[in-house]
């Protein structure tokens, strides 16, 4: 099942793309990374591989039909390369809990983070910041008492939260907020996560991400 060449279509700035790469690194799977230029037009390969959503990331595995949607891809990777370290927890309740927080990050927290950085409207920014602050408080609470959200090792929720973590730093850098100074456990976890072997080479970097945020803002 794990046979076959692996390709990832992604972009350097996308947390969704980053997640897939981290998961492959954790499983020590070799892959070819194909960078899409997110601010310009979409490649033929992308449009062919993901005709429904027309977005990255996409995982192409051998001759199988491409897999789309980052959380779905991460679970696929965990199931196919089952001999590597587990990404999702083994216990059914812990899996449900990890999936719950992952959907919270994707449906609420990250959109608020992005709006706070990119929106031109002061009102939208303020409302989004309130959501971000609420989110940081919840994540701080979740991060207490263990090295990673997955326990002793990086797991599913670490990958999900970790892939958007630098956006929090972008906010602290570009505005006068001190979100992370009020979330010491989360900050420490962030440092552990970012320096992990499977992670360190794929994070965009705060300065570069801040620059990207400005470009997105200008586009709007």
């Amino acid at each position: 099942m794990s046979e076959g060449e692996v390709k990832v279509l992604g972009t350097w700035a996308s947390p969704f793309s980053t997640r897939v790469r981290i998961a492959l690194h954790l499983k020590s799977v070799n892959y070819e990374y194909l960078e899409e230029n997110s601010l310009e037009s979409k490649s033929e390969l992308l449009l062919d591989s993901n005709p429904v959503f027309k977005r990255i990331p996409v995982l192409i595995h051998g001759d199988n039909k491409p897999i789309c949607e980052s959380l779905i891809i991460v679970e696929y990777i965990d199931e196919v390369w089952s001999s590597g370290p587990s990404i999702l927890p083994c216990d059914a309740y812990e899996r449900a809990d990890a999936r719950f927080w992952a959907t919270y990050v994707d449906n609420k927290f990250f959109p608020a983070l992005k709006r706070a950085v990119v929106s031109g409207s002061e009102e939208t920014k303020r409302a989004s910041m309130a959501e971000v602050e609420e989110g940081v408080v919840m994540l701080e609470k979740l991060s207490k008492g263990k090295a990673f959200f997955g326990g002793d090792n990086i797991g599913y929720l670490d990958i999900v939260i970790g892939s958007v973590f630098e956006w929090i730093k972008v906010i602290d850098k570009c505005t006068e907020t001190q979100l992370l100074s009020q979330a010491p456990c989360l900050l420490e976890w962030g440092a552990r996560f970012s320096s992990h072997e499977a992670v360190k080479d794929v994070l965009p970097g705060v300065a570069k991400l801040a620059g990207f945020g400005l470009k997105l803002k200008a586009k709007i």
Partner: protein, 232 residues
């Protein structure tokens, strides 16, 4: 697993397609549960607010001391705790496909269905209907690939994608009734039309699928409320 013997409760409403998913999954597994009906128009119960403080929405599954939220997460949990009569396919690629279409249904298709009822003006209505019909054609094709000639997306029995999509059939039928358009029809979606009937008649489904008439009345009442209530 000793855990599977602990008491099961479902917080929900009779009209919610998301709640229905959970009940169908439990029925498939022959798991007995207590159904606690929320009367959302009277305000949310203490139990709901305590069990789902982040989103304050139904459904919620209470299993012993644990609470699980979000319908698709609950369905997967149920599948993992009670492994007989599997809901998700065993093959990772098929699982990814089922999850993909479930995400499509929740993130794109169902919002486009709801947009028909909320559309203001004929142009907006036509556009919304067009989107739903386009989606149904995609799903017709997906059905062909997933079912491989068998009765359901899950092949010979109801599976994850059947549950995810099937629970929207009540609201689909209400929309058809109110708009006068057959969204599922013999010309564009012949396979889905037949599948819909099989799904609704399945033993795990028929007692929890609300009657279209009742749902239509409920939709009218909701619309009346939305128009009467000033937006905050």
């Amino acid at each position: 697993m000793a855990k599977s013997h602990a008491e099961v409760k479902v917080l929900g409403t009779w009209a919610s397609p998301f709640v229905m998913r959970v009940r169908i999954a439990l029925n498939i597994k022959s798991v007995a549960y207590e159904f606690l009906q929320e009367r959302l128009w009277e305000g949310k119960s203490e139990l709901l607010l305590k069990s789902n403080p982040v989103h304050r929405k139904v459904p919620v599954l209470i299993h012993g001391d644990d609470t699980i939220c979000e319908s698709l997460i609950i369905v997967q949990y149920i599948d993992e705790v009670w492994p007989s009569a599997p809901i998700l396919p065993s093959d990772p690629h098929e699982r990814a496909t089922a999850r993909f279409w479930a995400a499509y249904l929740d993130d794109k298709w169902f919002p486009s269905l709801r947009a028909i009822g909320m559309a203001e003006g004929e142009d907006a209505r036509k556009a919304a209907i067009g989107q739903v019909e386009e989606g149904l054609m995609l799903l017709e094709e997906a059905f062909g690939k997933c079912s491989q000639g068998q009765a359901f997306f899950g092949k010979d029995q109801i599976g994850y994608l059947d549950i995810t999509f099937g629970c929207f059939l009540g609201w689909l039928r209400v929309t058809e009734k109110m708009s006068g358009i057959k969204l599922l029809n013999e010309i564009n979606t012949p396979a889905l039309l037949k599948w819909a009937n099989r799904f609704c008649n399945d033993a795990a489904v028929k007692d929890v699928m609300p009657e279209t008439e009742k749902l239509a009345e409920f939709a009218k009442m909701l619309r009346g409320r939305v128009r009467a209530t000033p937006t905050s």
